[in-house]
Amino acid sequence: MTVTKAHIVDRLHAELHQVAKVTKNDCARFVETIFELLKGSLAQGEDVLISGFGKFCIRTKNERRGRNPQTGESIILPSRKVVTFKCSGILKKRMNHGR
């Protein structure tokens, strides 16, 4: 099964509607905002640390010489940034216990 934003929204609505007056639309907006905030932080080059879950890091890859596999032509691949995820030790344990 693939978990999507819709699953998070449903769960949020179930959990929140007793605590506060929120509609499903509100919950959808909240989830959207969370991921926009995470993206904003990473876009600025700032890592995101969610304790108990993991850490999203920005890593810079150096410029390197590559080849177009179709034509064999040599090209310079420019330096670029990538996002990596390091799972927290707590989550790693939870994923590997009871199996």
């Binding site: 991921f35 994923m95 590997n96």
Partner: protein, 97 residues
């Protein structure tokens, strides 16, 4: 950015209490964690996707002492960055190739 900063920013952006924002953030990551524990795939459009990868056990060595150790099979989440986020971390509006 840490989780508590995320909670504060969510509260501010949405005009909700920090207490409610905390429930929202905690629930969001709880759903993701439960999916990973079950081995489910996660797909967040524009952000990225997670897939649980299984690794076989192997015999390794402690690099410091040289002692032979048995490395147990394990499962780890693998994150693949989404197109939109990949574009954003590389300076925004340049189109992706």
């Amino acid at each position: 950015m840490t989780k508590s900063q995320l909670i504060t920013m969510l509260a501010k952006t949405e005009g909700i209490s920090v207490r409610v924002a905390e429930i929202i953030v905690d629930t969001t990551f709880k759903v993701l964690e439960e999916a990973m524990i079950k081995g489910d795939r996660i797909e967040i459009r524009g952000f990225g996707s997670f897939k649980v990868k299984s690794y076989d056990g192997y015999k390794g060595r402690n690099p410091r002492t040289g002692a032979l150790i048995e490395v147990e099979p394990k499962r780890l989440p693998f994150f693949k960055v989404g197109k939109d986020l990949q574009r954003l971390v590389n300076g925004g509006d340049k189109p992706m190739e």
